[in-house]
Each structure stands twice: as C-alpha cells, then as structure tokens.
Amino acid sequence: MHGITVLTAGGAPKIRISGRTLTQIVKRIFTKEIRQTSAILAGESEVVVAGLLPQGMVPNAGGNIVSFTTTETSIFYRVYSGNPNGGAFLTKIAPKSSIFAQEGLALPSSNTASFIQRVTVPRGVTLQRSRALGAFGKRGGLEQFQILNFDSKIIFHPGVPLR
C-alpha cells in the first residue's frame, strides 16, 4: 500500500511515505550509495554502473543542464555523415567546420560530420540543453540540445556538405 501520511498529533508534523519516515528513506538511499561506491573501489565498476544506468548508457551532458519545452517554432542544426533522416542531438549554432564539430560534440568515429542540416523544431517539443562531455577521445564542450520526446512534426531538412 503506497501513500503519504501526515501525523500532526503531539507537536511537529511527521510525514510517512509508504509507511516509512523520511529519515528511514534517506538512510536507505545513502546505504545503497555507499554499497555502490564500495563496489567501485573493489573493482566491480561494471556491475555498479549497470545498476545505476541502463545498459550501454553513458553520461553525455555536462555544464548547465536545463530541460525546456519549445514555445515557438525554432531552427537548430544537426551534423551527420551517414544518416540524413534525423537524430536526437542538435546545436543552436551551426558548427564552423567538420573537425570542430567532431571534437566539440565528442562524436564517435562513425560520424565524421561531413554534412550539416537545418532542423525545424515546432512548439511543444521538450529539449535538454547541456554541454557535450568528452568521449571517444574528443574533448566535447560545445552546447548541445537533445530531443527528449518524439514528435513527427520535427523536420530534418536536406543536408549540405560541411568542411
């Protein structure tokens, strides 16, 4: 039985969630964190990471991470080399060169950023703004916008070569 109970009799209110006090809940969270940290130190990082993130997930977002929903139609950019049909990661400013995009957006070798396309994002699409974290030997650091909800009205325009 899940529920929030507030007991007010006899002094300060005591809040219970699913029958547990807030102190008990916080203790459980910290115990789990300590167990996971201990496992990392013991060299079981793979097991621990699997417990924290879904399989294959890697942290990609740094800096000031902000999620927002577009209130008007906006233009973004996407770099690619193989798939012109769309992807979840966009930039607000067009990268100035292919190498700059590869490094700044921390792209894997499968994306050489040889093309750039405009992307029309309608109102009502939720995006997450962040700075690309370094990955695949690339430094990252550029501002990126990740599309969080699928919307068939997002338009990926034909690409043009990016040098």
């Binding site: 879904p54 399989q55 294959g56 997930m57 890697v58 990609n60 690619y80 193989g82 798939n83 049909n85 769309g86 992807g87 979840a88 990661f89 957006l105 921390a106 792209l107 894997p108 499968s110 994306n111 690309a132 974290l133 990955a135 695949f136 990126q144 990740q146 909800n149 699928f150 068939s152 997002i154 990926f156």
Partner: protein, 112 residues
C-alpha cells in the same frame, strides 16, 4: 497483430560503437528473419518503416502517444521479410545515448 516472440531487456542489444556486425539473425520456429540495425537507426525519427501503421501498432501494444519503448528509447516498428517470405515487424527501442552513439534494444517480434 500477434506477438510472436518477446525478448528480455538485455537479450538483443546493439551498440553501434562497440558491436562489429550490424546484422542479426533471429529464428522464429522454422524460419529466420534478418535485422539490419543500421536501417533501424536510420528510421528512428519516423518510427520505423511501417508508415501510417505506426500509431495503430502503438495502440495494439497499449503504448501511449508519448510512450517510449521499455528500454527508454524511441519506439521503432521495422517491417522485415523472413526467408520464407512472411512479413514480420520488429518492435525495438532506439536510444541515442550521446551524439551519434546508438543503443538499439529489440523487444518483440510481431506478425500482422
């Protein structure tokens, strides 16, 4: 629509940065279907290659308008033809975990 086969969350997972082969064969009783993960990734923003059937398939699987696949990725329905000429639909989730790094998780094989 009929669910022919279901897979566990970590059973059929493709990572375009780690995995070498982009194809996968799946046996369905006495026939085989071949999946090309690259084709699935290329259609992540149109939900696969089933066209207007996309919404109907989502309803059949009790997925909401904004639902994601069980893996957390965008829902993808990809029609494939088996070695015996029968049509199947591969239900998967496409997760772009960082820019151009894709994880595809196959969830179900469906038959019309």
């Amino acid at each position: 629509m009929q669910v022919i086969k279901e897979f566990g969350s970590n059973e059929l997972v493709y990572d375009n940065v780690k995995n070498g082969s982009i194809t996968q064969s799946i046996d369905i009783s006495d026939e085989t279907i071949n999946i090309n993960y690259s084709d699935i990734i290329d259609t992540q923003f149109v939900g696969g290659n089933v066209g207007p059937k996309f919404e109907q398939l989502k309803r059949d699987l009790n997925l909401g308008v904004y639902s994601k696949a069980p893996c957390g990725g965008f829902v993808n329905f990809f029609k494939v033809v088996s070695d015996k000429g029968n049509n199947y639909i591969v239900y998967s989730g496409v997760n772009e975990v960082s820019n151009s790094h894709y994880i595809v998780t196959i969830h179900k094989i469906l038959k019309d």
